[in-house]
Amino acid sequence: MSTYDRSMALTGQPPKEISRNQKIATLIGLSGLAIILLAAFNVSFPNKALWLSISMAAITTGTIWFSWEAYSKKLPGIKNDGVWFKSISSQGFWGWIAGIALTTFYIVLYFYPEYLGLVKNGENKGVIALFDPLSRMLSGNPASQWFVYGTLYTVAILAFGIKFMWKYRHNRYERIRTMSVMFFQTAFAFIIPELMARLNGDKILNGGSLPYYDLKNVWPLNYYNFEGYRIKSFLSSGDIGFALLIFGILSVFVITPILTYKYGKRWYCSWVCGCGGLAETAGDSFRQLSDKTVKAWNIERWVVHSVVVFVTLMTTAVIYSYLGTDTSKYWLTKSTFLIGVAVLLTVVFTLVMVFKRKELQKDAQYGAIGYFVIIMALIGMHFLSGDGNVFLFKSETLRKSYSFLIGSIFSGVIGTGFYPILGNRVWCRFGCPMAAMMGFQQRLFSKFRITTNGGQCISCGNCSTYCEMGIDVRAYAQKGENIVRSSCVGCGICSAVCPRGVLKLENGPLQGRIDSNQVLLGNDVDLMTLVNKN
């Protein structure tokens, strides 16, 4: 029988009780949230700018003070004492409460923004009105539910980012990485797009107006980037608009592959991405909750790659829908585009099947062939039938279903709402098509790996437990194998929590990167030859 779960205390066992100062800090943080909650119930604050500042300051101060109390009096080192005794971080009572609260918030945000006070064609009310002054200051426009969300999101990454940096103050990789996500969230996701909105209508854009564009948000994570209304806005906004559109295309086909080849997908997932940023900071307390079973891994591979297929079909259909048919007007017509997509997919498929087939498991090969055949058949059927709909459905239907199922439910409600239940990277692991595509490259064509240090592994399981992506790191390390997994986001925590210095994230030569030999050093050489003989 396990002995650690005897206590019925909501706050965990007595030795892990939070200190008095931490209780005050929690109260301050919650009071900041309370202001927002009051606003949601239409309590009208007289000086909105002041009350919003108080609220944000309280949330930030509360979080930072709480962390200071937790870490400042301890020596630098791993700070996981009592993680599985605290109910918030071990799927206990408070974990479920937090999960339900977050999920509710996301449902309201996505589907019932009017409860937050959104008023179309009129003065905002409630929470959104509270954020109006800040929004006007940045972009000149009133706030929307997305502005509220963006602000809270940024505050969370900044406050919890500071917590994370204190927690790992002995680890420079973690500190620098966290500064990076804090920077990209604040500058690229939050401030720059808001300021860019000020240019709208200006003559520098030829009087056009740019779509809201977080430059680091790359397709297919940014699944709507190439939708008709956005292309129109880009193209109507002069050279700047055109440059941004070109950047959007380059970031998919040039920048991402090059950086992923050199550094693995971590350059994005745990250094730049906003979803990753929130997961690594506010979600850090929940990383140990990810499921490590082989079963979960199998589900992950099918689900995440199906999302890739879905987003590819959807985007193709959407772009197809607004392209013309007349080659004399514009070279890119419906047919040229579809043929282009078919050629590109065929080239990637063929290259992988010819050169990398051996590195794919059987079911991955079948999956790849299956999906390839389906996409090609759909494209072929379209040409044969001459129907206006591509892929059996109206492009609008595909777009709406993707946006609802993947964009809202999966990435928001489940992805973040379920942090305290399923772990902090559910979206990144099971849903994100960007992560899946980079992962595919990372597994097959990248210099990145986690090196296992000879025979030093003691199979303790810290690495696997704290892997937010649910990778059973130990399974490789204890055999002396390097870890080369498509899902690895390179957060570096496995290496940090390893008590024996066994794991190192590094970029090295492709030669010998994946070595499935058992290389448990310390053994006699003859024995190792025998062990590795099949």
Partner: protein, 453 residues
């Protein structure tokens, strides 16, 4: 089909089972009295500290065993009847074997201290010890002070565990500096300081005289031999090393010393009976190693070796270059090759020692005074590459080469501060050399052959 029975589901027994399964179709049965499934013994501490749940320290999912046709039996082997080739579980149930592997590990040492069997007195080795610790020291209210007796690796782990629940700890160490039978004095000193930084009441050169009972047969205090001082406490941890766990073999006819006596093929004096891991004792020590090696890594290696022998490739147990690792509270320790403490050092072994001025980092490199051959390294707080040191030891590199190429060896995470320049200049100063550190080379690190196009 041959019937292989393994007593003990620790790393040695399980490694043997896994490798026998890889090589053959034999029937494999593992018997354990301790737990249903294999777990990482070295990770028990993290369960008490709340870093992991017990299920997390089990390296294989529960379906693994059935899938690989490894049968698991829960029970305590009380008799081994080598003539009948059978063993009795819990005194009655008989299991036949064709080949028997004994991998029963260790048990904590008890040196006959008065009061050593009182309630509240325990070692830290098994899952049962962990469960007992939850009873003896669940929190600082029940356990107002704990006393740990014995300054080795388990002692400092137990201290760390108790401190994670804010329980005051007094740590009695027989030596005049922590673990200085193994560590050279500079390193031992570094750990002394670190122990005190963690608010552990470290008592060096201090022996236990007796453990005093209260009226209920529970520990009340301990008395220190040197001073006669009485320390009130609610729990006493006995961590003065371990002994092979072989009492059940007394009448089996298998030759026993401190452990089960084995030859280099890990065979006992009785045909078809083998012993591996902590409980095996070599007739003669291999190289600088001890006849009994109670180390995770050697258990694993012996398991792999005996699997070959049982499957028809009779080979000797030939461990390669010595290596080991540990973590002292926040300080990671790795060792490659041999670095002996002042107490056990031979005349020809010379040490180079570097310690950082403020951080808890240090390195000791041992080399031969006359030939300058590199013998081994201890590193504290800086991770280093096993593979490269293994190669250097095989190639018998000299100390100058090692110092010059130190940057290749660094295994710290990216962006960590590097100290190689500092280390090299200290070496140059100590030994009147002028070695310039070579830049880190990917080609050397990964041992790449030059590419020809």
């Amino acid at each position: 089909m041959e019937n292989i029975v393994i007593i003990g589901n620790g790393i040695a027994g399980v490694s043997a089972a896994r490798h026998i399964r890889k090589l053959s179709d034999k029937r494999i049965i593992i018997i354990s009295a301790e737990t249903d499934y294999f777990f990482s013994r070295t990770a028990l501490m993290y369960v008490y500290m709340g870093h992991m749940k017990f299920e997390h320290i089990q390296p294989y999912e529960n379906w693994f065993w059935e899938k690989n046709r490894i049968e698991l039996v829960r029970g305590y082997v009380t008799h081994v009847q080598t003539k009948e080739k059978q063993l009795l579980i819990d005194g009655s149930r008989a299991i036949q074997y064709d080949k028997l592997i004994i991998a029963t590990g260790s048990k904590p040492n008890k040196f006959g201290w008065p009061g050593q069997d009182l309630h509240g007195v325990q070692g830290l080795y098994s899952k049962q010890d962990l469960d007992l610790l939850e009873v003896n020291a669940p929190n600082k209210e029940t356990c107002k002070r704990a006393v740990i007796v014995g300054g080795g690796l388990i002692g400092i782990e137990l201290a760390e565990m108790l401190r994670s629940r804010d329980i005051p700890v007094t740590f009695l160490v027989r030596e005049n500096s922590f673990w200085n039978g193994v560590l050279p004095k500079g390193e031992s000193q570094l750990i002394n300081e670190h122990i005190e930084e963690h608010h552990i009441d470290l008592r060096l050169a201090t022996n236990l005289k007796e453990i005093v009972s209260d009226e209920n047969g529970k520990v009340k205090s301990v008395i220190i031999a040197e001073t006669g001082e009485e320390l009130q406490c609610d729990m006493v941890g006995l961590t003065a090393g371990v002994t092979p766990n072989i009492d059940f073999l007394k009448d089996s006819g298998i030759e026993l010393g401190r452990g089960v006596k084995v030859n280099r093929f890990l065979e006992t004096n009785v045909a078809d009976v083998y012993a591996i891991g902590d409980c095996a004792e070599q007739h003669e020590a291999i190289g600088n190693r001890r006849p009994i090696e109670a180390v995770w890594y050697t258990g694993r290696m012996m398991g792999e070796t005996v699997a070959q022998t049982i499957c028809g490739n009779r080979i000797e147990y030939k461990p390669g270059h010595w290596f080991n690792s540990a973590k002292f509270l926040d300080i990671e320790y790795q060792t490659y090759g041999w670095v002996f403490s002042e107490r056990n050092k031979k005349d020809h072994e010379e040490h180079f020692h570097w310690r950082h001025a403020t951080e808890k980092l240090c390195v000791t490199i041992a080399f031969d005074k006359d030939s300058h051959q590199f013998l081994g390294i201890n590193t504290f707080g800086i991770r280093m590459r096993h593979e490269i040191f293994d190669r250097w030891l095989t190639e018998e590199k000299n100390i100058d080469y090692v110092i010059e190429h130190l940057q290749d060896v660094n295994f710290d995470p990216e962006f960590y501060k590097n100290y190689e320049h500092e280390i090299v200049s200290k070496f140059n100063m100590d030994f009147g050399k002028s070695i310039k550190p070579k830049k880190k080379s990917i080609r050397r690190i990964f041992n790449l052959k030059p590419q020809h196009n």
